[in-house]
């Protein structure tokens, strides 16, 4: 059983479109993290959300943590080809290992 369920699994869009990807769980988390992984590279941390209902913005990316701290979403406005990659959500187990979802593979074509 996957603790973090990410959807959709794949997303292919045109440059300029908006999109939202989701990270859901039945468990409550003290925080969740979002990573982006480009082909041939390791994941890179984008943001950590900590407070229920929190919204964080990183340029065209908007991250939200659910009020109950069980889910999170990532919204990208006016997607660009440089946004292409695997988007992963993760939580920190006991402050050590990261537990990842399976990710959403995003492809943005020009």
């Amino acid at each position: 059983t996957q603790l973090l369920e990410q959807s959709p699994q794949f997303l292919s869009i045109q440059e300029g479109e908006n999109l939202t990807v989701y990270c859901n769980s039945s468990s409550v988390f003290s925080s969740l993290q979002w990573y982006r992984q480009e082909p041939g590279e390791g994941p890179v941390l984008l943001v950590t959300v900590v407070t229920g209902g929190e919204v964080k913005k990183l340029k065209r990316l908007t991250f939200q943590f659910g009020d109950a701290r069980k889910d999170s979403s990532l919204h990208i406005t006016a997607a660009q080809p440089g946004d292409t990659g695997l988007y992963l959500c993760a939580y920190n187990q006991a402050g050590t290992a990261l537990i990842f979802g399976k990710g959403t593979t995003l492809s943005v074509s020009s």
Partner: protein, 111 residues
């Protein structure tokens, strides 16, 4: 990331062969993690070191997998008698504060 390097970047092994994957973290990365990432999946935790001490190896899939970090810096993940199901990307990460910085990974293909 914060300069974590891994070698080799690609490794092709015949089934039954032993392989050794190396991770060079940045000086100051007290904590070091290994993850396995199958194609189309998120990374899965394998093992964790704090300095030279291996504090958690609960994610190692079998006793064919062995990791060490003898001097608390460079780490090696060894896989004995490789099997086709070992084909994956092996990622290493160093931790600074609450952030893990990943290397580019070693892509292992077992034929």
């Amino acid at each position: 990331g914060a300069g974590v390097s891994q070698s080799p970047r690609y490794k092709v092994a015949k089934r039954g062969q032993d392989v050794a994957l190396r991770c060079d973290p940045i000086s100051g990365h007290v904590s070091l993690f290994w993850y396995q990432q199958a194609l189309g999946q998120g990374p899965e935790f394998l093992t964790y070191f704090q300095n030279e001490a291996q504090l958690d190896k609960s994610g190692l899939p079998s006793d064919r997998f062995f990791a060490e970090r003898p001097e608390g810096s460079v780490s090696t993940l060894k896989i004995q008698r490789t099997q086709q199901e070992d084909s994956a990307v092996y990622l290493c990460a160093g931790k600074v504060g609450e952030t893990q910085y990943f290397g580019p990974g070693t892509r292992l293909l077992v034929l």
